[in-house]
Amino acid sequence: MLGEGILKGLAETARNFAGSYVSAERLTTVQYPEQRIAPIEATRDFPFLVYDGDDWEKGLRCVACQICEKECPPKCIYIVKSTDKKPDALGKMQIYPARFDIDISVCMSCQICVEVCPFEAIKMDTEFELATTDRFGGLLLDREELSKSNEHFHKIHPTEAAEVDARLAEEKVKADAKAKAAAEAAAAKAAGAAAKPATVATETPAKPAASGTEIAAKTTEGEKK
């Protein structure tokens, strides 16, 4: 019969229309600003810098190694290394970023900076309502605006943050053991030859601690090649 196919199709639309009043499965949209769907844990949009403790400036994990700046495909990261050093989370002296800017109007949320970072210092945020009236400066974030606490990281990506914390704790244990061993060796050495100054003891653990994780090992290998 001519028109049978059309009627069949109309029956389908009618079923869906009526069904949207009774079945949540057929009503798929939400009224966005008032209603919101539950956030998905793995969601990512723009990067932020993680800091430990209360003071963002002291606790920044970033050591300004500039790997993310080099690897960023759209080149939206700008880093200036500091000329002096400050102690990091493990207590050893490190360079820190004197400037760390990300232009999030250029950033394309690819997560490559997170992947290549050997220090777990940069992670992806989930904040997406970032509209601003300032066309030029509003989306260029400096290191203060980028810094967010480890607690914030735990809040938005609990699984990933727990893994990262476990890895860092393991690293710290290793670094402490190494520092202790080095300190003992240095002490023994110092006892043997009293002419050497004590600063050696604090500087020796710097290298092995950095190559603790697998990522870091990979990075240094790549760098050498």
Binding site: G9, N16, T28, A42, E71, P73, Q111, V116, K218, E221
Partner: protein
């Protein structure tokens, strides 16, 4: 002399679309369809010469969305190009990732673990389903049924995009695959959610087909329109559902058996007439085959790592040489051709986009048809301008 004449005759037949003579009454009308035409999926222009309603000439104009993808990739590390491949065919980023990963893996001789292969098949086939459903939706939209069928397709697409987001962190710009595996592993919960979505797909396809397939208006508009002959399709390098709708049995999943496609039991649907209706139906049939593959892959997926432990994602320099990696993307053969000179970035990076090459024979399909059918034929090619212009 006679031989030479024959040769030109043959060449004319091969290289030129058939010449449609105007009937001599009235003047020809030149119409620029696009670049802001609602049917054009993006920015694309067709310069059409019309004799009344009939198309006498059609010139496609590309390049409005050119973003310098290939040249950018030459100045960037191999890893750096991966997120840009998402933006080629933005309807199916997973398959773009896959093709590029295969090309680099061929260049470096990198192995891919078993579980990563299965995950690639799963996300790839989900992408194919989403793409085909949306392609059908857009095609019907161009026929004038604005909204409803497309939103049916998008309702299902949304479920798959949610899966992608919970796996990779992004709905569309996934940046998921790496040279030697996948970036993150799928959790058991994710696999269960995927099984649930896949279990709901046959019902969706049934509904979608009930809505459209038997529709008399659709059949009247599409059958016998925009016929593509198989010999012309092969000569023009057309691939994917378009080629198979013309009756040529060529599916790279079967021809190359890349990845682990030799383990799955599925069939390649073929069309008979090569018209718009065949191209429309072949997408439905391919969705059903993809569901079969998904069911098998989700049943068999083994445990293990998703990245080769020896794999390097950055800071590697492949030996000088070249590699061409290709896959059966939802739109056709998607290939990446890379030349390495031993440096950290490719010396040459070339994309073989299915959309562009399938679009080159648009004029041959449109000549002699009504101008209203041009939009329809264009829609049945299923292109994404991001991939056409790169």
């Amino acid at each position: 002399m006679a031989v030479a004449e024959n040769k030109t005759e043959k060449l004319e037949g091969w290289n030129r679309p058939p010449l449609i003579e105007p009937d001599g009454e009235g003047e020809l009308l030149e119409v620029a369809m696009g670049p802001h035409h609602p049917s054009t999926h993006g920015v694309f222009r067709m310069d059409v010469a019309l004799d009344g309603e009939r198309v006498i000439r059609l010139k496609p104009v590309f390049g409005y969305l050119h973003r310098n993808h290939e040249k950018l990739a030459e100045g960037m590390t191999y890893l750096g190009s991966m997120p840009f491949t998402d933006r080629l065919d933005y309807m199916c980023p997973m398959t773009n990732n896959w093709a590029y990963a295969i090309a680099v893996e061929k260049l470096t001789g990198q192995e891919v673990p078993e579980r990563a292969q299965y995950l690639r098949v799963i996300v790839g086939e989900l992408t194919r389903i989403v793409n085909h459903a949306s392609a059908v939706g857009f095609l019907i939209q161009e026929m004038g049924a604005s909204g409803t069928p497309l939103m049916y397709a998008f309702k299902e697409r949304e479920k798959v995009l949610d899966l992608f987001e919970s796996l990779t962190g992004a709905r569309m710009m996934v940046n998921y695959m790496r040279f030697g595996g996948c970036r993150v592993d799928a959790t058991a919960a994710w696999l269960d959610a995927t099984r649930k979505v896949v279990a709901g797909l046959p019902k969706f396809v049934g509904e979608f087909e009930a809505l459209l397939t038997g529709n008399e208006i659709l059949m009247a508009r599409t059958q016998g329109v925009g016929i593509l002959r198989p010999d012309l399709a092969v000569n023009a390098g057309v691939t994917g559902p378009m080629l198979r709708a013309s009756g040529v049995n060529y599916d790279i999943r079967k021809v190359d058996r890349y990845g682990i496609y030799d383990r799955f039991n599925f069939r390649v649907p073929l069309g008979d007439h090569g018209d718009v209706y065949d191209r429309f139906m072949i997408r439905f049939l391919e969705i059903r085959e993809s569901i079969k593959i998904l069911e098998q892959a989700l049943k068999d997926i083994p445990g293990g790592p998703v990245m080769d432990s020896k794999a390097k994602i950055r800071g590697f320099r492949p030996k000088p040489g070249e590699a061409y990696g290709r896959i059966e993307a939802p739109k056709g053969e998607l290939g990446f051709y890379l030349i390495s000179d031993g440096g950290p970035n490719p010396y040459r990076y070339r994309v073989r986009p299915p959309s562009l090459i399938n679009l080159t024979i648009l004029e041959d399909m449109c000549l002699g048809q009504n101008v209203a059918d041009v939009v329809l034929i264009f829609g049945s090619v299923d292109i994404v301008l991001g991939e056409v212009d790169r």
